[in-house]
Amino acid sequence: MRAFEYVRAADVDAAVATVTDDPFASYLAGGTTQVDLMKDGVLAPERLVDITRLPLHGIEHGPDTIHVGALTTMEELAADPTVVARLPIVREALLLGASTQLRNMATIGGNLLQRTRCRYFRDPSVPACNKRSPGSGCAAVTGAARMHAILGVSDRCIALHASDVAVALVALNAVVRIQGDQGRRSVPLTEFYLESAEDPVAENMLAHGELITGIEIPLLPEGARSGYLKVRDRVSYEFALVSAGVALVIEDGVIQDARIGLGGVGSKPWRARSAEEVLIGAPPAVETYRAAAAAALAGAWTVPGTAFKVELAQRTLVRTLQNVTEVSS
């Protein structure tokens, strides 16, 4: 019979040391993924290290960047005046990302580490899940796959990373601050996540025991346009079928800079650089947007349940670009 222990970390160093030294220990923050998966029997840590009282709350405002403590809640970040004024893409993604109750619980660090909603992963009675038991197969590939990914996937795993705000943050070149027992490091969010196509288990480059302590979000330049569009069946309270977060700088009728994130499609929050390349240097026009969207989805790998997402994601990206640039069809 296995033990189970709950401990409250005294400080960051102690928390990191405790989890690093115990292969069966996990951090506990907002709990919205951790507690849920423990109940499902998918996660069975023997020690939970509650970090919610560590001094990792709050937002510091620099001239070009905001530094967000990892334990800042989604609701707190969405309400930050700088986020409201300068990062509408982040605010919209946060507000569309969960109910207020969940936003009050979920921390931004935890949000980045949320686990896939794939029901085959979350139900231990399903034998075939390469993410849960490596080598067992993927039940989703031949299963109900409407909420699954089409980019960065393969027949090994089509699990979706369902975060909304992470889509905005990869588009913004946010940087994750990490502390481990070997010290601290900072990693661009675009390099933080790993695609599942090759290895469904490793979802990011955190080593066991490493803790996200904060996120640096570069502010968009004055005059940049940004927005986030989430497409789903219900009006609210649902994960994205597809979503798009875009930020554009347009000068002299030409797109000078473009950042595109796509949600609901990737095994990780998807940065669509190929679409950005199409946009940069081109005038804001629907034809350009369509070409960019086609480029973004060029590498899609679908199963029957997800095939519609290729077209829907393109239309969603086009619409989002139209919305932020006020270009009509």
Binding site: D123, S125, V231, R234, L241, T316, R319
Partner: protein, 735 residues
């Protein structure tokens, strides 16, 4: 007798009598009860859909902390099947052999000191199976087909000849998926044996049925079983049967001689308490060039479990919806390796109406007649199957009032002809003829020494407002103000009541309550019949009225006395009378008993590129006969309409091919409408008291849902020019 009040009680839009309890967390649902010494149970469910258990290992679970017992088919006693009910056979008892008939079948119940221990230990039970290839699809040739399982198939005229002569023929195949009732309240059973006496708290819509079932399964007299359900967190049909988990909990409590409590998990709510079964319908109508129906043929096939019953005649309702001389309806079921379906709000009608009201809409476009006009042109003035006048029918008024409130005349005839930016706008309409249903019912009424009334019956209130409207009926019938009457239910020791289901309880119970109250007044008059002291001596019910608890002579209103006076003078602490209702038969009454009618008018917006569908307006006009409470009845229609939005746009229980596992058995994956999906809903009641029942009521619990899916599909067609014959209508089908 007439009971007079300064303001009429029945019909008034009164607040719910149980409202203060519900808004303060003090309404107690089955899972809110605890019994000293209770143990907690968790279920183990099969992970295959068909085959046999070859080995089941419970040793690790039995050794786990706090575990008291693990019951499997290897150590369970043989149990009898429960009795036949008005809704068909009882479910087969669980754990009777090693066969697996569906994924999620209960294969063990684990009981431990705490719920956490039981849940942990249940994960330690391992089973090995010899799996067979499961029959999971309606079109699987191996599926056994039940032809006309309810004997409701209809045929009038000669459809083949009429169809051949029709100037216009329209036909289509419509599919509706499995839907899951998903009441918010997790079903709970708390069983407590005291010798041979069993007390149950159970999430049921039918306490009297659960009592009868437990008595038969456990071989004890019915009067030694008592079922409590003062409140239930919704049901929508899930609570219409005594499901295997109820029997398992009772069995565990008997085995341990300890109270045992089981609360189902949300995923188990998808596999253990029924669902609306998937169906496929082929419907074909023939008409004149001006849209008069000459022939209608409606065939359905729906799913049912391998060894169980479900009532789901999808096509039957089409026989009486329109004045069509040549009609054929055929309903069939296919036996599959699935959890057993059960009634879900508007069973059969919700699916059948979608097909019928869609094809009528298609016909309207085919002949170029307004969709509203074509429905009026084929209006069934009498019940065309019984060839008898309806006991009430104001469907025409539903259409007319609804059209006016909705602004139907503003509709542009052509599909895809209205647009607002990215949004295409469409209007749709559907009519509903909900079938009549009513079962016998009993009630008991008491006046106590203080002159207050107490009326009760073993019914359940799912949130429909039964507590409230029966308090109103009781108060009016007894001539007491509302605050001097208490109506109680949810206890099988009370007089037997039918299920809260089939939109039949309000009439059945209302008539029984009214009868009990009248019998009680008779008892008072009998008591004083020879009473020299009474100003009412010699009076019969026809001679008196009651006001504020005082009975007085109609011919001399100053001559009278109160209930309390009479009881005091006769040294009685209370007087009680029983009442009953038994629905009349159409043949005896010379009229066709009518359920509720309704018209649904819907406006949708569809994003032309993204396929997003937003319902922006719905007008519901309902003929529910006499409405006992405008507020609670209105809420029934509002709630049904929300359920209809779910059926139309979101709800789809997905089963994995091969394994038969439900792939989306959570509230995160099985979508029901959220607040943001629902606009303000306009609800109006029209019509007159129904002539077929003393109280004049017709049930309105289900008519609000039916028709919504068709009206939305019709509006989507009008908006986009796309006819979608498969539910739910999700954005990917509109891309």
């Amino acid at each position: 007798m007439t009971a007079t009040q300064s303001r009429p009680l029945v019909g008034a839009a009164l607040n719910r009598v149980d409202g203060p309890l519900k808004v303060s967390g003090q309404a107690h649902y089955p899972s809110d009860f605890d019994v000293p010494g209770q143990a907690h149970a968790a279920l183990v469910q099969s992970t295959i859909a068909a085959g046999r258990i070859t080995r089941i290992d419970t040793s690790a679970a039995e050794d786990a902390p706090g575990v008291l017992t693990v019951i499997t088919h290897l150590n369970a006693p043989r149990l009898d099947r429960g009795p036949m009910t008005g809704l068909g056979a009882s479910p087969p008892p669980p754990l009777q052999d090693d066969r697996i008939l569906h994924h999620g079948q209960h294969i063990a119940i684990v009981v431990a000191e705490t719920a956490e221990q039981a849940t942990d230990a249940a994960r330690l039970v391992t089973a090995e199976y010899q799996a067979d290839e499961a029959v999971l699809d309606l079109d699987d040739p191996r599926a056994q087909i039940l032809d006309n399982p309810w004997g409701l198939d209809t045929q009038r005229g000669d459809v083949a000849v009429a169809m051949a002569s029709a100037e216009v023929v329209v036909e289509g195949t419509f599919t509706t998926p499995d839907n899951t009732n998903n009441p918010l309240g997790l079903f709970c059973t708390l069983a407590h044996w005291d010798g041979d006496r069993l007390t149950l708290h159970d999430s049921t819509q039918w306490p009297s049925m659960v009592r009868a079932t437990m008595a038969q399964v456990f071989k004890v007299p019915e009067d030694s079983v008592r079922v409590h359900v003062p409140f239930i967190g919704g049901g929508f049909g899930n609570g219409l049967r005594a499901w295997p988990h109820v029997i398992l909990t009772v069995l565990a409590a008997r085995t341990l001689a300890r109270p045992v409590k089981l609360v189902l998990t949300r995923p188990q709510m998808f596999t253990s308490v029924g669902h609306r079964p998937e169906g496929v319908q082929h419907i074909k109508v023939g008409a004149t060039a001006t849209g008069e129906l000459v022939a209608l043929e409606h065939r359905s096939l729906s799913a049912v479990a391998m060894e169980d019953d479900d009532y789901e005649p999808l096509a039957a309702g089409s026989a009486v919806a329109y004045a069509c001389p040549n009609v054929l309806t055929r309903d069939r079921q296919a036996r599959l390796n699935i959890p057993n379906p059960t009634s879900m709000r508007g069973p059969a009608e919700a699916q059948g109406n979608f097909a019928l009201e869609s094809i009528i809409d298609e016909l309207a476009y085919a002949v170029g007649v307004d969709p509203l006009e074509i429905r009026l042109r084929n209006y069934a003035e009498i019940n065309p199957e019984a060839e008898l006048p309806w006991s009430s029918k104001a469907l025409r008024e539903c259409f007319e009032v609804g059209a006016e409130r909705f602004g139907w005349s503003q509709r542009s005839p052509e599909p895809r002809s209205r647009r607002d930016g990215d949004w295409l706008i469409g209007y749709g309409v559907a009519g509903v003829s909900y079938p009549w249903y009513q079962a016998p019912c009993q009630a008991r009424a008491t006046i106590s020494a203080d002159g207050n009334g107490y009326v009760r019956s073993a019914a359940a209130d799912l949130g429909t407002g039964t507590y409230t409207v029966m308090t109103q009926v009781s108060a009016e019938s007894l001539g007491l103000p509302l605050d001097r009457v208490r109506f109680d239910l949810g206890d099988s020791d009370m007089p037997i009541a039918p299920q809260a289901g089939g939109s039949g309880l309000t009439s059945a119970l209302g008539n029984a309550v009214q009868d009990a109250c009248r019998q009680l007044l008779d008892s008072f008059l009998t008591l004083v019949h020879e009473d020299e002291m009474s100003p009412l001596r010699g009076c019969t019910r026809a001679d008196v009225a009651v006001e504020d608890g005082r009975i007085h002579r109609l011919d001399a209103p100053l001559e009278g006395e109160t209930y309390a006076d009479i009881l005091a003078r006769h040294n009685l602490t209370e007087l009680t009378a029983d009442g009953a209702s038994d629905p009349g038969k159409a043949a005896d009454l010379g009229m066709a008993l009518a359920g509720a009618f309704g018209a649904k008018f819907v406006e949708v917006r569809v994003d032309a590129d993204l396929g997003l569908v937003r319902v922006t307006r719905i007008v519901s006009v309902i003929d529910g006969g006499r409405i006992l409470n405008e507020k609670t009845a209105g809420s029934q229609i509002v709630g049904g309409t929300v359920g209809g939005i779910g059926q139309a746009l979101f709800e789809d229980t997905v089963t994995d091919a091969g394994t038969g596992r439900i792939a989306n058995a959570t509230f995160g994956d099985y979508l029901i409408p959220v607040n943001g999906d629902v606009p303000d809903l306009d609800v109006v009641f029209v019509g007159a008291p129904d002539r077929g029942t003393p109280l004049g009521t017709k049930g309105v619990g289900e008519v609000g849902l039916v028709g919504v899916a068709a009206a939305i599909a019709n509006a989507i067609y009008h908006a986009t020019g796309r006819r979608i014959r498969s539910l739910p209508i999700t954005l990917d089908t509109l891309l």
